[in-house]
């Protein structure tokens, strides 16, 4: 049977991808950001997961305003890397796992979560930057990826509680897949940041640190955070952190914290990164 091996959360700031692609990771500005992922890359090489269920958001790359699903699951065999306005990132193609993706889609929909099925999906920095942070710059990604896009761009985004509950159902779905697979669940985006208007550059480290603590020990409290509180306390783009709750929901009651990293700034954002393992 498939098993949930571990959970990872990380910010997916596009400038991080640009720094990797341009070989700038050792500059004074970027070194402290990437230092926090050195352990993670070693850990990942030991874990050797088969599949990443990668929760991210599309940044007006695949989904225009013609059609904007709240939850969309990528069921294709391959996902093209999007051109976000300056050419696609020079990263390998992202290969899917259609059998597991279709199984999860069926399981979640029958569990009352209304997913949009994507048989064609272009993926952007929201997905590729976390891959680069955890796997470096290989010629081919060493895992299959199931992209799972959450609308965090247009209000109303799904609630944190909804994302957490989806994560719980996701675990049941993964564990009922007959093939012997190690599956990691990643939640990406965040932490506090605001990219628009006169309040751009907003960072709330107190909120972020508390969020990291409670993601480990008290996720139920995080599920109660409303849209307005995310907007006021973590910046207009900080609500991306609801995607971390999908990961946490999939981990079960208790987790073991393996690694934590927090740094300000990367471009306009606070960078947060957490690795946890289910404590079962």
């Amino acid at each position: 049977m498939a098993r949930v091996q571990a959970g990872v959360t990380t910010s997916h700031v596009p400038a991080i991808g640009a720094a990797i692609d341009r070989g700038q990771t050792e500059t004074d500005y970027w070194r402290p950001v990437f230092a926090g992922y050195e352990f993670s890359k070693r850990w990942m090489a030991e874990q050797r997961p088969d599949v990443i269920f990668l929760v991210y958001n599309d940044h007006a790359s695949n989904f225009s305003l013609e059609c904007l699903p709240t939850f969309a699951i990528g069921c294709a065999e391959e996902f093209t890397v999007a051109d976000e306005g300056f050419g696609p990132r020079p990263v390998p193609p992202v290969l899917g796992h259609p059998e597991l993706a279709c199984h999860i889609a069926e399981s979640l929909i029958l569990d009352d979560f209304d997913l949009t099925i994507m048989n064609k999906l272009d993926v952007d920095h929201g997905l590729t930057v976390p891959m680069s942070l955890l796997f470096g710059q290989p010629t081919a990604w060493p895992v299959k990826v199931i992209p799972f896009a959450v609308n965090v761009v247009e209000y109303p985004q799904p609630s944190g509680q909804r994302c957490f509950n989806l994560g719980r159902a996701l675990r049941r779905a993964i564990e009922s897949f007959p093939e012997d697979l190690n599956v990691q669940v990643w939640g990406t985006g965040g932490m506090s940041h605001q990219l628009q208007g006169p309040r751009a550059g907003f960072i709330n480290s107190t909120f972020d640190q508390s969020f990291l603590d409670r993601l480990v020990d008290d996720p139920d409290a995080l599920c109660q955070i409303r849209h307005l509180e995310y907007l006021r306390e973590s910046g207009s783009e900080g609500i991306e952190m609801i995607m971390w709750l999908v990961m946490r929901g999939a981990m079960g009651e208790r987790v073991r914290e393996v690694h934590r990293h927090y740094h300000v700034p990367a471009s306009n954002s606070a960078v947060g990164h957490l690795i946890v393992e289910p404590n079962s």
Binding site: E84, Y155, Q194
Partner: protein, 129 residues
């Protein structure tokens, strides 16, 4: 109180609601067209001509031509869509964020290195916190 009625109480912030998505539909769709290199070329060659293909309001068209991102947001633009314009211009998110906050890039970058814009006084206009 409906949370949505509180959105205007957040300083310097425009929340991209379903209504704003309606208001900015054509503006944001224009932005997405810049994901194709050939469209970027056509836009660079003749901005006004390229924009005339899209059903933009005068205010939206003017905001794009002046690269006034705060004005574009007020007219229904969303920053992730507008990012396609400044990517076409070869500008970074930091450059444009500095512009939107009326700071130099140097001052803005230093503010971020110092920990970013403080939440103190930036949560609520009415409550001054």
């Amino acid at each position: 109180m409906n949370d949505k009625e509180e959105f205007d109480d957040i300083p310097g912030t425009t929340v991209f609601t379903t209504q704003r998505s309606r208001q900015g539909f054509h503006l944001n769709q224009f932005c997405m067209s810049l994901m194709k290199p050939e469209n970027r070329e056509r836009f660079r060659a003749d901005e006004e001509g390229y924009l005339s293909q899209w059903a933009l309001t005068d205010a939206q068209r003017d905001a794009v031509l002046r690269r006034d991102y705060n004005a574009a947001i007020a007219e229904g633009g969303n920053i992730y869509f507008l990012a396609k314009i400044f990517a076409t211009d070869g500008r970074s998110f930091v450059d444009v964020a500095a512009q939107m906050t009326d700071m130099t890039v140097e001052d803005y970058t230093q503010m971020m290195l110092n920990g970013g814009r403080s939440p103190e006084g930036n949560r609520s206009i009415r409550e001054g916190r």
